[in-house]
Amino acid sequence: MTFLQLLFYTFAMLALIGAFMVVVSKNPVQSVLFLVFTFFATAGIWMILHSEFLSLVLVLVYVGAVMTLFLFVVMMLSVHIETLREGFVRYLPFGLIIVGILIALTVMVLGPARFGLAQMPAPGLKPADYSNLANLGSVLFTDYAYPFEVAGVILLTAIIAAISLAHRPPHKRKTQNVVDQINVTPKDRLRIIKMPSEKN
């Protein structure tokens, strides 16, 4: 087994173990951390597939931003762990049957008979100055510039939606009214009382 194959099988096993633990964990925080682990292993697999930019984007953006968001929200909500596992044992045989059928069907269709090395040969080694980032950019900003802008609009929509959903108005909050503060005169704040001084 070559080093590349060993690397692929190691990363694949780690990713599948992580995915299994995500589904099976009792604690939501453990689930999120196992999902982070799965993403790291899958980033390794994407690196084997010569897409360095996307594997690093997966780690930086997806794990660094989205999973951190998940962790914050999970730790913010107090969760009753017993009530969340009620349906687990009841649906377990049904779930296992569905998973088994799916895996069997996909292995039959996508197996080595149709997509092995004879039908889809592995591409040769790239030249020394091959840059995945440059190739991706040259396609993304020319042929797919319009979907790129639409992706930006999607992110803007997500920002507006998330902020308008989660924002709390200053309902019982004490804030300052800046206009009133600026229009204050000394008479409002200070009252000078003239009193005769007492002797002894």
Binding site: L69, H80, L92, L102, A162
Partner: protein, 101 residues
Amino acid sequence: MIPLSDFLIFAAILFSMGIAGIILNRKNIITLLMSIELMLLAVNTNFIAFSYFLGNNIGEVFVFFILTVAAAEAAIGLAIMVILFRKTKSIEVQKLDLLKG
């Protein structure tokens, strides 16, 4: 060399684990959202494997957009969950039955 079928089978197993997560964890919104992320990850791996074997960059462009949409969807889903928790103090999916007939 690693044949394409290995990558596709790996992505298929990851996808079916995401489906199993949705089936088995019906009450827990957080695990539901994470199973959806698992399924999206499996689809992304599929795209990148085909992109490598067909010598194209189009698969990677599509993965770029899937990552964008998945991040936006995760953010909005979590914002809805936060509001649900503020209103009902629990995150059970069964509590979302206000439109029930």
